[in-house]
């Protein structure tokens, strides 16, 4: 097994039609380590779905190479698909068939034996909260239920790599929470999850690594720590202190520390931004003022994305 479950090098995808050509991917190099939740972040039309389509063999790259789980995406895509579960962005089910029948058909194509398949179907339906709907025709399913079923089909073969394209689209808050739990369970069992999304606030925080993509080009790529470093160097360290009774005195003391950029009081919480790591000094102050909690706030993926691409979503 390769060290990285996904490796791409100089991946280019150009779509050509009568009106000209569009470069959907422009020399993308990414590496996804094993056993992480990897986010592929970017606005709509940035090339995320194209990248996923190439990884699973639905499309061919114009140039460059891509390997998934050690297999070449062009020559060995069937081997990849034996081990990969995909939740595509645009998909549909056979509507006249029940949820169970749909999963049975897809599971058989995955090569799961008949006896094993029955057990697996019931298991994944339970995981996504659709057990009661196993024998209902998909025709009557809501968008959220269909999305849960799509998650179920991706989990069916217990894949080594789970690729989810906009997985929370159409899910209600309860569904999104279920999805987050599910991803955590999958990762705990040693699998890798690749999540492509533009909804960073919903699921960004469950990602430990990410690639930020814009107009087909990779903007930044790495673990949260790696990507946070330049951001923190530029914007400073951010801390949050659950304020005690003597908040005014605490504010005064904090302001005296060296390298303070900004101090504010929001909802009884003191937020401190500093040029350098003042964690130790704040801990000492926290002890003196008996504060309820002190925490370092790492930048969110949203903030990182905006920092790396120099603006918000387009």
């Amino acid at each position: 097994m390769a060290e990285y479950v996904i490796e791409t090098e100089g991946l280019v995808k150009i779509y050509r039609d009568r009106s000209g050509e569009v470069k959907a991917l422009d020399g993308v190099d990414i590496r996804v380590p094993k056993g992480v939740v990897f986010g592929l972040f970017g606005p709509n039309g940035s090339g995320k779905t194209t990248l996923i389509s190439i990884l699973v063999g639905l499309q061919l790259p114009t140039s460059g190479t891509a390997r998934v789980l050690g297999f070449d995406c062009v020559r060995e895509s069937v081997e990849i698909r034996k081990r990969l579960g995909l939740l595509p962005e645009n998909y549909g089910f056979y509507e006249h068939m029940t949820a169970y029948e749909n999963l049975e058909f897809l599971g058989r194509l995955d090569g799961i034996s008949k006896n094993e398949l029955k057990r697996r179907i019931l298991e994944v339906l339970e995981m996504v909260g659709l057990s009661e709907w196993a024998n209902a025709k998909v025709k009557g399913f809501s968008r959220g239920m269909t999305q849960r079923l799509a998650l179920a089909q991706a989990l069916l073969k217990d894949p080594l790599l789970l690729v989810l394209d906009e997985p929370t689209l159409g899910l209600d808050p309860q569904g999104t929470a279920m999805f987050r739990d599910l991803v955590e369970r999958v990762v705990k069992s040693g699998k890798t999850v690749l999540i492509s999304t533009h909804l960073l606030h919903e699921i960004g925080h469950i990602c430990t690594h990410a690639a930020l993509i814009r107009r087909g080009k990779l903007v930044a790529h790495g673990s949260l720590d790696e990507l946070s470093k330049p951001y923190i160097e530029a914007r400073g360290f951010l801390y949050e202190i659950a304020a005690p009774g003597e908040v005014e005195r605490l504010l005064h003391e904090v302001k005296q520390l060296d390298g303070i950029l900004e101090v504010s009081l929001v909802n009884e919480k003191v937020r401190v931004r500093a040029k350098r790591d003042i964690g130790g000094e704040l801990a000492r102050l926290a002890g003196r003022f008996r504060v309820r909690s002190l925490s370092f706030l790492p930048p969110s993926w949203d903030e990182l994305y905006q920092y790396y691409q120099g603006g918000g979503w387009e």
Partner: protein, 309 residues
Amino acid sequence: MKDKLAIVVRKELKENLRSVRYWAIIILFVLLYLASSYAVGFALRGFGGPIVLTRRTRAIMQLSSSVVNTMAYVAPLLGIALGFSAIAAEREKGTIRLLLARPIYRDDVVNGKVLAAVILIVLAIGLSMALATPLSVVLQGLNVTADDLLRLMLSIIPATLLALAYYAMALFASVNAGRSSHALVVSIAAWIFFAFLLPMLASFVAFYMLGPPPAMAFNATRPGQMPEQLREYYSRFQLIYSRFQLISPNDRYTSLANALFNVRERTEAYESLINVFSRRWIDAVVLLAYIAVFIALSHVFFVHRQETR
């Protein structure tokens, strides 16, 4: 990968056997067969003049005409109905992305659909004939022999080839269309071309090449009384017309199916099957060529197509 093929076949069979469209075509076939049988029977009963039809000849003509006429319309319809949505509908509904995300070769998807279509076509035609023939025999009071029934059964083969030729064309359209409605329009256009435009075009070209028939007065009460000059004109006209029609699957079907019901004049016995095939092998070859070429093209285009939607 044989098991993947079988899985696709089973799913296709299940899906189509549950569809209203499939059963509607079978019902349409039975109704058209009965209507055609009645119309031919009505026409033959009123047949006067010097040609006297025996009861046996009438039965053969009535059955063969019903089968051939009905099949000429229903078989292409059946082929198109099964083919136009085969891939395009999967693309339209998005099921293709879930299907192709499985460890399956695209060849297996096409092969599975084709194999299921063969089964569904044979089943539809066989079932329709099994329902319509006894009804027609009873309602029209026909005198049918075992030999007639054998020929009727054999006529399933050219009908299946015709349906498959249209299925293959519709499948090719489906592979290349983003929407099943586009594939349907293209398939129907192909059918209109072969069923209506090509015969018109063939007549037009023959007429253009030969000019109008020679004007001469004659009184024909029996066949063969037509003047030699006129007979030659029509024979040349027929030659040019049939050359054009050689590429028409509809015409090849009619020619092959009618040949199965050819009877020798004196004995009223059917022409042997070896004779039929030695005379009409080209019909079978043309029909098979349509099937092979369009299925092969469907394979090539589907395997190389990038699913961008």
